[in-house]
Amino acid sequence: MIKQFKQLAIASSVAAACLGAAIPAAQAAEEQFFMLPSYRVGPYGANGQSFYGGFIDYLSYVNQKGGIDGVQITWEECETEYNNAKGVECYERMKSKAQKAPGPIHTMSTGISYALVDKAAADKLPLAMMGYGLTSAVDGSVFPWAFPLVTTYQMQASAIIKFLKDKNAGSLAGKKIVYLYHDSAYGKEPILALEAESRLNKFDLVQIPVAHPGNEQGAQWQRIRQEKPDYVIMWGWGVMNMTAIKTAQKMGFPRDRMIGSWWAGSEEDTVPAGDAAKGYMSATWNVAGKDVPLIADIEKTVYGAGKGNLKDTSKLGTILYNRGVSAAVLSVEAIRAAQAKHGKGKAMNGEQVRWGLENLNITEARLKQIGATGLLPDVKTSCDNHEGSGKVKLQQWDGAKWVVLTDWIEGNKQLIHPLFQADAAKFAKEKGITPRNCAAEAKK
């Protein structure tokens, strides 16, 4: 009996010692939490599937490589169905979990981003809007918590004009360009920039809106046929893109004179359109393909270990998958930048991650280290420039894949930046916000 008691006591002591050792270790494990208000069902589910698949695969990849300097990444998805109300609901549900150590929030929706700009600022949670969202948030003095990273709708529109100008021996004078757009905040964002470009480059701009969801565009394309434009720039999303490409075919408008925004330039838009899409062009802030070393390594490492997020591995290397990876790369780099300043190996709080996003410096050399050369442009952010790049490439659909036509093209900064700075100043005045003094902060 005594012997049994002794054995039990020893066993209990060993177990207690083990537990005692384990508990502090568990407490010490640092984690950075990404809330992901994503969409995988609903009208734009196919697009969200690829984007968030790529995003999560990169987070898994980083974890498999040891985390962000030892800090493991965790995440939770919440289905928004690309619906603003559901997006806000997801945000409210997850924000308390994200409060301690948040990753940048990516909604992949201009509408949801608009709804979250003020909330995220109040909750001190950084909001990323890579390639979408509120253009005037480039001005970090007014929008410290919002980051329309890489490039904005207005800079993208300007870059497309630059591309067309180069195509026409440096002048668009006397040309006619139709701007066919989704009649929503997303579609209306670049109008200011296109009007400014039209005045500067003396081309005729005809604006034609398409009512949501854009699955019927007969009247719009009849008008385009009547206008006889030299080019059509299209700001579409989802079913609108394919309908536009097919209706252009029906009206006999050449597809190689149509240029879509980056939301109108994925395989989801061109593959279902079949032969009608051949020759169609679009802007993009990331390239497609698995020949980017990082994408190939994700496939080998993450999918090799059976931890891939997507069942359908044919999505790997598509435009939207690579965009999800690119968005995750910048988010992780922001946390790395924050750690470099505030302590390596520690989970970063909202303010620290915000600082990281505002002090990104992703050079060509850094992209090479990550294995992302050519995947996305170099990015350098600051207090007064939350965009950090403003560059896009132009690509063309050859009937089977996207072919890159140009190097990175930067929009006309001198023309476009004052536009959103004025808009940001107006916003600050309306809301009674005192803008930060970026120059003074830079000196500190």
């Binding site: 719009q220 009547q226 309908t243 075919q249 029906k250 593959v271």
Partner: protein
């Protein structure tokens, strides 16, 4: 003038596409008095089933048969699990049930077949007919003409079915009064299952044409939105009404989209394009005020 006719013809042909979706609504309403909110979802499910079967290796003809089988099963299941429990319930309860059904199909269809946007090639190219373009400089699409032909054939077939067959007459009796129809020995359950299967067939035809034009994707469910003003105009119980309503809505929304915004812009400044999203509804609303039962709808008279 040539441009006016091009817009008019384009609008009329688009209207036929709306009519195809409206037909499904009319069928179910005519036979059961239920406004089937799930018709748009059925169009999506039918088209998705065709491409799903084709991805599994079935040729188009077999995929069509299989998809029709799936839609028939859906019809039988709807009768058995939803409608049978709700015999003689107020129309609003049945309407609510179809809203539930619509959300169920929206969620179930992609679970079954995946939610990727997929092409559907039915061998029809959506290109202008060269000789019309050369002779009159008017764009008329081959695809639109075939779609119009199909819709008209379908209407003729359904009109004959309702008017001249025993089942058709039974369907009309059920629509008038569930209990009275039951009391004279009409098998309500079979009739309802049958009409849902026929509506599934109409959804399949609509799904094939819309899916071939815009790709098979979730947005096909939005086609229902295009059918609502058509129904208000044409009447909920009239098969020819669905066609006439579709033609009026299609032509008027296209003409409105082209000719009204410049006038409004001249008066108020700004851009008023994109009105075709709401214009048909305003038109239907105005029509509703004048003729609530629609152009061809049955006038409802109650004894006091």
């Amino acid at each position: 003038m040539q441009f006016f006719f091009e817009v008019l013809i384009g609008g009329l042909l688009s209207g036929v596409m709306y009519s195809l979706v409206a037909l499904g609504f009319v069928l179910i309403f005519k036979a059961s008095g239920v406004f089937n909110f799930a018709q748009g979802a059925m169009v999506y499910f039918a088209a998705l089933s065709v491409v799903g079967c084709m991805e599994k290796g079935a040729p188009l003809w077999l995929a069509l048969i299989l998809a029709f089988g799936i839609m028939t099963l859906l019809g039988i299941a709807t009768e058995k699990f939803v409608l049978r429990k709700m015999v003689n319930q107020p129309p609003i309860a049945l309407f609510m049930a179809t809203i539930g059904l619509s959300f169920f199909i929206d969620g179930f269809a992609p679970l079954l077949w995946g939610n990727e946007v997929r092409p559907l090639d039915i061998g029809l190219v959506d290109e202008p007919i060269p000789w019309i373009l050369d002779s009159y400089n008017i764009v008329v699409s081959k695809f639109d003409l075939v779609a119009a032909g199909l819709a008209l054939a379908l209407v003729a077939l359904l009109a004959l079915f309702f008017q001249y067959t025993r089942v058709g007459r039974a369907l009309r009796a059920v629509a008038d009064d569930h209990q009275a129809a039951l009391s004279i020995g009409i098998p309500l359950q079979h009739i309802w299952a049958l009409v849902w299967a026929v509506a599934g067939f109409v959804a399949l035809v609509a799904g094939m044409l819309w899916g071939s034009r815009n790709g098979v994707q979730f947005a096909l469910t939005f086609t229902a939105l295009k059918a609502l003003p058509v129904l208000i105009l044409g009447g909920f119980t009239s098969v020819p009404g669905a066609i006439v309503g579709g033609l009026i809505i299609g032509a008027s929304e296209k003409l409105a989209e082209i000719y009204i915004p410049p006038v409004l812009a001249g008066w108020f400044g700004g851009n008023f394009g994109g009105i075709e999203g709401w214009f048909p509804y305003v038109m239907a609303l105005l029509f509703l005020l004048v003729r609530p039962e629609g152009l061809f709808g049955e006038k409802h008279i109650d004894r006091v």
